[in-house]
Each structure stands twice: as C-alpha cells, then as structure tokens.
C-alpha cells in the first residue's frame, strides 16, 4: 500500500491513479480516504451486499416464523388501522 497526502493527490492525481497498489490518503497525518481499483471496489461492495442479504434473510426468517400465527387478513386489518391512526394524528398536528 502506498501512503500519500491529500496535497499529493491534488497535485499528482494522474500519476497516483495509475499506481497498481491500494493508496491511503492522509490529511494532517491522519488516514481519511483509501483509493482502490474500481473492479476491487465493486468486488468488495458485492461481498458486503451478499453478507448483508444473508443476514437479512436469516433474521427475517426468524421473525416470519414468530409471526406466522397471524393470517394475512389479520395483518391487513392491523396495519390499515395503524396507518389510519398515524395519518389522522399527523393531519391533526398539521391543522393546529
């Protein structure tokens, strides 16, 4: 990994952006940004998304099992009542 200052990045962006290595950008001697290849960025983001999606699916499966006893009709009734209440309260707040 190359370490460069933010001033270096401003002055020599073209040269720095052509480096093969990952780059750590410092400002006032502190790391503030990393520069990596676009393909690597996409790969990391995709891994992160896969991880989050798996976690999401795992957690939601548990929640769905815990609430499976409620019928769709019942859920509809409850959410519609809640929406009605929340919106009426908001309208009331707007009017006063």
């Amino acid at each position: 990994m190359q370490i460069v200052s933010s001033t270096d990045v401003q002055r020599n962006f073209k040269k720095i952006s052509r480096m093969d290595e990952d780059i750590m950008v410092l400002q006032d001697s502190r790391p503030i940004k990393a520069m990596i290849h676009w393909e690597e960025y996409k790969r990391l983001k995709s891994l992160e998304k896969d991880y989050l999606r798996d976690k999401f699916d795992r957690m939601m499966a548990e929640v769905h099992v815990r609430n499976a006893k409620f019928s769709e009709k019942e859920i509809d009734r409850d959410v519609n009542a809640a929406i009605k209440y929340v919106r009426a309260r908001r309208r009331h707040k707007r009017s006063v």
Partner: protein
C-alpha cells in the same frame, strides 16, 4: 433501470409475513435490476406504525431486527423529494405517488407497489408509473429467471 417505490403497508407486511409477495418485493432493494426510491417521510410513517399499540403489543420484532430490516433502504435505496401531486383524496397517498413520479425522472418507468385501493385505482392514469400489488408485480414484471432465483 426501472424504479421501485414500496408503500408503507407493503413494508409492514414484509416485516411480519413472508406470504403474499410483500417480502419478495421489498427484497428487490438488494437487487441491481431495479432502483429503489424512498423518502424520509415514508420511513417515519413506517416507524410510527410500529409504535401503534396494537402492532407493538401483538407482533414480535426486536430493535436489532428493525435495524437490519431498514438498513438496506438507506444503504441501497435513493432518497428523493416527492413531487407535488394532487390526484388522490388522501394527502399521504399523494406523497407516495409524488415520490413515484419524482423517481420517473431518474428511472423512466417506476413500479409503485401497494395494497392501498385508492392508489391501485389510479393505475393507468400516469403513463410512467405502474401501480401494482406485490403479487402482480412479481408475476408480471419480474423476468422469469430472476423470479426463479427468488424462490
């Protein structure tokens, strides 16, 4: 890339129930095939609904679950200011619709997924916004290979 706007009632059903297509429709927030649009007012309404007594006492979901459920919206969705539309009787329905019409500026065509009959009645009135129930969206708009992957 087509846009996707999910109404509050779909979000709640997706949170507590995997039947009816709501969960699968919401899960598109992770996919690259559609761009997910939201506005903070909708998120706020959803969180207020969860605090409604009958909901909070009856249904089981922890704060952690809620974080995990909501995080993809902010992480992968795009926040947009709704346009002012005055088509529906309900101000809040107008806001959802306004979000969808604002999203058409970015995505061209937008699917608004809802169970709200007033909104569903408006399907076909705005050329670039298709208003559908989750099941209809999954059946008619999601390409078969993608639909098979969702099972």
């Amino acid at each position: 890339m087509y846009g996707l706007v999910v109404d509050t009632n779909v979000l709640f059903r997706a949170l507590v129930n995997e039947k009816g297509g709501d969960y699968k429709a919401y899960r598109f927030v992770f996919n690259n095939e559609f761009r997910f649009y939201y506005h903070e007012s909708r998120v706020k309404e959803f969180l207020e609904i969860l605090q409604y007594k009958r909901i909070s006492k009856k249904y089981t979901f922890s704060e952690e679950v809620l974080d995990v459920f909501m995080s993809p919206i902010r992480k992968y969705g795009e926040s947009l200011e709704p346009e002012v539309v005055k088509i529906c009787r309900d101000i809040d329905d107008n806001e959802v619709l306004g979000l969808a019409t604002a999203a058409t500026r970015k995505s061209g065509k937008v699917f608004l997924i809802t169970h709200d009959e007033d909104l569903l009645d408006l399907n076909g009135k705005i050329e670039t916004v298709e208003i559908l129930r989750p099941g209809e969206f999954l059946r008619d708009q999601v390409p078969t290979p993608l639909r098979l992957r969702l099972r």
